[in-house]
Amino acid sequence: MIKTDILIIGAGPTGLFAVFEAGLLKLKCHLIDALPQAGGQCSEIYPKKPIYDIPGFPEVLAGDLVDNLMEQIKSFQPGFTLGERAETIKKLDDGTFVVTTNKGTEHHAPIVAIAGGLGSFEPRKPLLDNLSKFEDNGVAYMIKDPEVYRDKKVVIAGGGDSALDWSIFLSDVASQVTLVHRRNEFRGALDSVEKVQELKNSGKLNLITPAEIIALNGEEKLESVLIRKISDAKEEITLEVDNFIPLFGLSPKLGPIGDWGLEIEKNAIKVDTFDYQTNIQGIYAIGDVNTYPGKLKLILCGFHEATLMCQSAFQKIHPDKKYVMKYTTVGGVSGFDGTKKEAPKAVVKTIE
């Protein structure tokens, strides 16, 4: 069981900055995120896009902002459970919480801060009738172990980076790879597009465009897919395959957090703006995931909310301790790793 002071659900900018503010108060943090990397939407959706309203940064790329935050919180040694989704929460008799992920990892903390943004990112599934029947029977939305596809006939659908990159990778593993996309154009890194072109020319990859998969067939397991060409002729092709991997990106879902007994309004968690606590004592919600009168879904607002949340969390964890806020310029930053950053002392010297 992982133990920490503040368990943060969601490793986007707000969750990451909460680690810093908690660290100043000597509180340790652990973060859970469904994505395999930290940064939330900033890393997953728009890492190369600029943001213009982070105070002090006239322009910063979302990916760089995440890198900076990771650097800023490094000395507070946050723990991470990545690639797992927070599934259930249990309040123990002493008022502390145990949060368990979909993979069974347990986390124990007196304070839970939900910084879940728009929710956890789930694969977008194509609208096909018997899709769920073949899930784990030939259909997968993520490639965890490429060896599963060794010497198999695989069809991949999608037109973005992941569809291109996996088509390239699997062309060396699978016995046959077919890439189906609704357009002739692909949206991906230039190298990947060129590599797919090369593989197509050399016959190592079948490319069917513009086309889409409209039906799945098979008794128990997936045996074939029906592909319809999107052209005037509407030609239909039955392709024998072992595996179908639709890679249509990810979309956020509030998910299991919605069933934790928290007050929900407009797909967000209602909080008290005094300290961003939810209707359950000890559970806070900060950043895009919360709502209150006047709420703005801005990163800079998330930073503010994280800061006030940490003060309240400190009071809960240490009800008897006296504390006044101290400027980092005055107090410096003492990491849990023994490092200390502080303002250089002024030189006192007589001028003769």
Partner: protein
Amino acid sequence: MTDIKIKIIDREGVLHEIDAPTDMNMNLMEVVRSYELAPEGTIGICGGMAMCASCQCYVVSDTELPEMSDDEEAMLSEAFNVKDNSRLGCQLHITEEMDGLEVELAPEEL
């Protein structure tokens, strides 16, 4: 003139005739949100970067609209429930030329 008339059919099939400002740097997705014609969190999820299709709509009137950008075309090619008259609301900047536009919001992707 600063306001134009737009007709929007929401996801329940209800028609709304609304005034949309042309001087507020707004797009169609934002207009829909400002009138709360679709619940918060179900539209404009990516904030208007053409990176999700939650603001997809079908253009019903024959209003002339600006050409699609590569981003919009790429996103729509991966979206679901796409029709020939699909557009992303976030990519339609409200201008006077759009007066009389009628659109229907595409169903929410589940």
